[in-house]
C-alpha cells in the first residue's frame, strides 16, 4: 500500500492510503495518525483518521507544510511494520428494522430514490440478491461491524461489515440527498452502515432506528457522561434486532437514565481475522455474551 499525499489548502495534509476500502488500509491510517498524535508535533491542531485515508490540520505558521510532510512520510514507513492489533470493545446496538419513523421519512423522499416503488430496505435486499427482507436483516445483523471512521456530523460512526468481500452488502446513496433523516437512523451507503447521531440531511438508505443515544451534548445519558460521543475508530458493533415493544422499553429506560448498553472489552487482530473471519466473529460474540 503506497500512500498518496496531497495538501488541502495551506492548513491540511490529506493522505489517501488506498482508493478502496479495506481493514488493511484502515489499520495503516490508524497507525500513522496514532504516531502523529504521539509525536506531539508543534502546530498540528487536528488528527483525523478515516476509513482508508486520514487528514492532519496544521498551522503553517508553526510547522512548514514540507516539514510536516517529511515527518508524516517517515511515520508511514514505521506504520507498515506495526502490528495490526487493537485492544478495543464490542458494543451491542438494538435496532428496530422497518420502523415507522424512518418509513415515514423515506416515503416523503421517494422521488429522490433509485426505486420509488419499493422501500429502502426492500431495494437493498433485492439488489444484493436476498430473497426477502427478513433474510436481508439476518445478513445485516448476524456478523459484527467495525467502526472505521467517526465523522460527518457529531459522532456518527461509519461501520464496515466483518464478512468476506463477496458477502459484503453494497448499496448506492440516494440519487439526491434527503433534507431530513430521523435521529438515530441506521443507514447504509457504499459498503458502510452508519448511525445518524442527530436529525438532519442525509443520503444513505434507511433500514431502521436504534433507541440508544450515541451523542449527547448535555452529557445527561449515563454512559455519555464522561464524553458526549460514544464511538471511536476501532470499536466493534453488533446489531441486535428488536421489535416495537423492546424498542419502546429501551426508549423509556433511556429517559429514566436506567439503560446500560452491553459493552465488553475485546482484542482484535487483523491477521487472525483474515485467516479465519467467521471464527474471529464467533469469539467476539462469545466475549459480548459471556455474562
Amino acid at each position: 500500500m503506497k500512500c498518496r499525499y496531497t495538501f488541502g489548502g495551506d492548513e491540511h495534509l490529506f493522505v489517501e492510503v488506498d482508493e478502496a476500502m479495506s481493514l488493511e488500509a484502515f489499520f495503516v491510517s490508524l497507525a500513522v495518525t496514532n504516531a502523529v498524535r504521539d509525536a506531539k508535533i508543534k502546530g498540528v491542531t487536528e488528527i483525523c483518521p478515516a476509513n482508508a485515508s486520514f487528514q492532519i490540520k496544521f498551522n503553517p505558521d508553526l510547522v512548514t507544510p514540507d516539514n510536516l510532510l517529511g515527518m508524516v512520510k517517515e511515520m508511514e514507513k514505521d506504520a507498515e511494520k506495526a502490528e495490526s492489533k487493537l485492544d478495543t470493545r464490542i458494543i451491542e446496538i438494538p435496532v428496530w428494522y422497518q420502523d415507522p419513523y424512518t418509513h415515514e421519512t423515506l416515503m416523503r423522499f421517494r422521488e429522490r430514490h433509485q426505486d420509488p416503488n419499493s422501500t429502502d430496505i426492500e431495494y437493498a435486499a433485492s439488489i444484493n440478491g436476498y430473497k426477502d427482507v427478513p433474510s436481508f436483516i439476518e445478513a445485516h445483523s448476524s456478523a459484527p461491524w467495525f467502526v472505521s471512521m467517526v465523522g460527518f456530523v457529531s459522532g456518527l460512526p461509519f461501520l464496515y461489515q466483518m464478512v468476506d468481500r463477496p458477502r459484503q452488502i453494497e448499496v448506492p446513496k440516494y440519487l439526491r440527498p434527503r433534507t431530513d433523516t430521523p435521529k438515530l437512523t441506521v443507514g447504509y451507503g457504499g459498503c458502510f452502515s452508519c448511525i445518524y447521531s442527530v436529525r438532519g440531511a442525509g443520503g444513505y438508505q434507511m433500514f431502521g432506528i436504534t433507541p440508544m443515544p450515541i451523542y449527547d451534548p448535555e452529557q445527561k445519558v449515563r454512559y455519555l457522561r464522561d464524553f458526549m460521543v460514544l464511538f471511536k475508530p476501532g470499536d466493534i458493533v453488533k446489531w441486535k434486532p428488536v421489535d416495537e415493544t423492546e424498542y419502546k422499553a429501551i426508549v423509556e429506560a433511556v429517559d429514566k437514565d436506567d439503560f446500560e448498553p452491553r459493552i465488553r472489552p475485546v482484542t482484535f487482530d487483523l491477521e487472525a481475522y483474515n485467516s479465519d473471519i467467521d471464527g474471529t466473529n464467533t469469539k467476539l460474540m462469545e466475549a459480548l455474551n459471556a455474562d
Binding site: F7, G8, E11, K57, G151
Partner: protein, 325 residues
C-alpha cells in the same frame, strides 16, 4: 446585567474563534465565518480578540441594553443605529443603559459581527461559546439567538476605545463585480479531465441559495467530466463518489460533477464526495461575506502564494492592533 433581545433578525448566532480539536469526531471548529471581522470588532471594544460576539446574517437584531457598553460592528456593511441614530461600522461607539441598538438594511456583505464590551458570556461547550446548531453545542442551549432571549455580558471590561476605527484600507469585503477565490488544486483533482480542470477555473460561478455556515454551494459553470475508472470497492457507484474520507475546511466538493460546494466553519467532517481542491485560508473570511447570486471565479494558486496571502492577512491584523491599542 444582560442584553434583552427584542428581535433576533434572520439568523443571529453567538460566535467566537471556535472549538478546534474535535473534528475527528465530526464536531467542526465553528466560530465566526469572518474571523478577521470578529477580531477587529473585539479589539475595538477592548475585548480579547476571541471573545463571544453576535454574528448577524443578512439582517441585524434589535437589542435593548440594561447597562452602559461599547459596541462595534465589523464585516458586512450593516449600519448600526442607537435609538434610531445611525452609527458608523468598523468603529467603536457608546451605548447607554436603556438604549436600543437596531440596524439599517444590509448594504454589502452577508454577515456582521457585533462585539460588545465584556463579551457575550454564555457557557462554553468544548471550550467555545460558538453556536453549532446541528450538534446543539454552544450558543444559547445549543441554538441560535431567539426573540426574548437575554444575553449575559462578561464583567471584564477594558477602557473604552470609543471613536476608534479600523482604517478603510484595512477593511475587507466582497466589493463590487466578480469575486476571485483562490484555491489550491489537489485532493481528487486528478479525477476530472484536463478540459474540466480548465473549465472549472475559467467559468463564472454564482453563489446559490444554499449558502450557510456549513457550506456554500455554487451554480452556473459547466458540469465536470470524470476520468473513467472502475469505482473502487466501498466508494459507491457514482463517478463523483470516493471511499468516505475527511473533508478539509474550505475543500470544494462537486457531487455528481455539477454544483461545487465549499465547506466552511460548520463543515461536515467527512463523506463520500470527491473534492477538486481547497480554498486558501486567507480567502475563507471573504466567503462568509458573499450573498447569493454573487459571481465568483476560482483562481489556481500554489502553496507559496497561499502562505504569502496568509502572511498578508496577518499583517493587516497586526496594523489594526497597532492602530487601536
Amino acid at each position: 446585567m444582560p442584553i434583552k433581545v427584542i428581535s433576533a433578525g434572520v439568523l443571529t448566532t453567538i460566535q467566537d474563534l471556535g472549538r478546534p480539536g474535535y473534528y475527528h469526531l465530526g464536531i467542526p471548529m465553528g466560530g465566526a465565518m469572518d474571523r478577521y471581522a470578529l477580531r477587529c470588532a473585539n479589539l475595538l471594544v477592548g475585548n480579547d480578540e476571541g471573545a463571544g460576539c453576535l454574528e448577524a446574517t443578512f439582517m441585524g437584531p434589535e437589542l435593548e441594553f440594561t447597562e452602559d457598553a461599547t459596541v462595534a460592528v465589523c464585516g458586512a456593511e450593516l449600519p448600526p443605529k442607537v435609538n434610531g441614530e445611525e452609527q458608523p461600522t468598523w468603529t467603536a461607539f457608546d451605548v447607554k443603559s436603556g438604549d436600543r441598538l437596531g440596524f439599517d438594511y444590509l448594504r454589502s456583505g452577508a454577515r456582521a459581527v457585533i462585539a460588545i464590551s465584556g463579551g457575550i458570556d454564555t457557557p462554553a461547550a468544548l471550550g467555545s461559546r460558538s453556536t453549532y446548531a446541528i450538534g446543539a453545542l454552544g450558543g444559547i442551549e445549543g441554538r441560535p439567538v431567539q426573540d426574548g432571549d437575554t444575553l449575559p455580558l462578561g464583567k471584564n471590561k477594558a477602557p473604552g476605545r470609543t471613536g476608534k476605527s479600523v482604517a478603510e484600507k484595512l477593511r475587507r469585503g466582497p466589493g463590487t463585480g466578480d469575486v476571485t477565490l483562490r484555491m489550491m488544486p489537489g485532493l481528487y483533482w486528478h479525477r476530472i479531465t484536463s478540459e474540466s480542470q480548465k473549465s472549472f477555473l475559467a467559468d463564472t460561478w454564482k453563489v446559490a441559495m444554499e449558502a450557510d455556515r456549513m457550506g456554500y454551494r455554487f451554480q452556473g459553470g459547466k458540469p465536470l467530466e470524470f476520468v473513467e475508472r472502475k469505482q473502487p470497492f466501498g466508494a459507491g457507484s457514482d463517478p463523483s463518489n470516493i471511499t468516505d474520507a475527511c473533508y478539509p475546511y474550505g475543500s470544494i466538493q462537486v457531487p455528481g460533477g455539477t454544483e461545487p460546494i465549499i465547506l466552511h466553519r460548520d463543515a461536515v467532517s467527512g463523506g463520500g464526495y470527491f473534492m477538486v481542491g481547497t480554498i486558501i485560508s486567507a480567502d475563507m473570511d471573504l466567503i462568509g461575506q458573499l450573498q447569493p447570486a454573487t459571481p465568483v471565479r476560482f483562481a489556481e494558486v500554489d502553496m507559496d502564494t497561499a502562505l504569502k496571502a496568509r502572511h498578508d492577512r496577518q499583517q493587516s491584523l497586526e496594523e489594526v492592533r497597532k492602530l487601536i491599542n
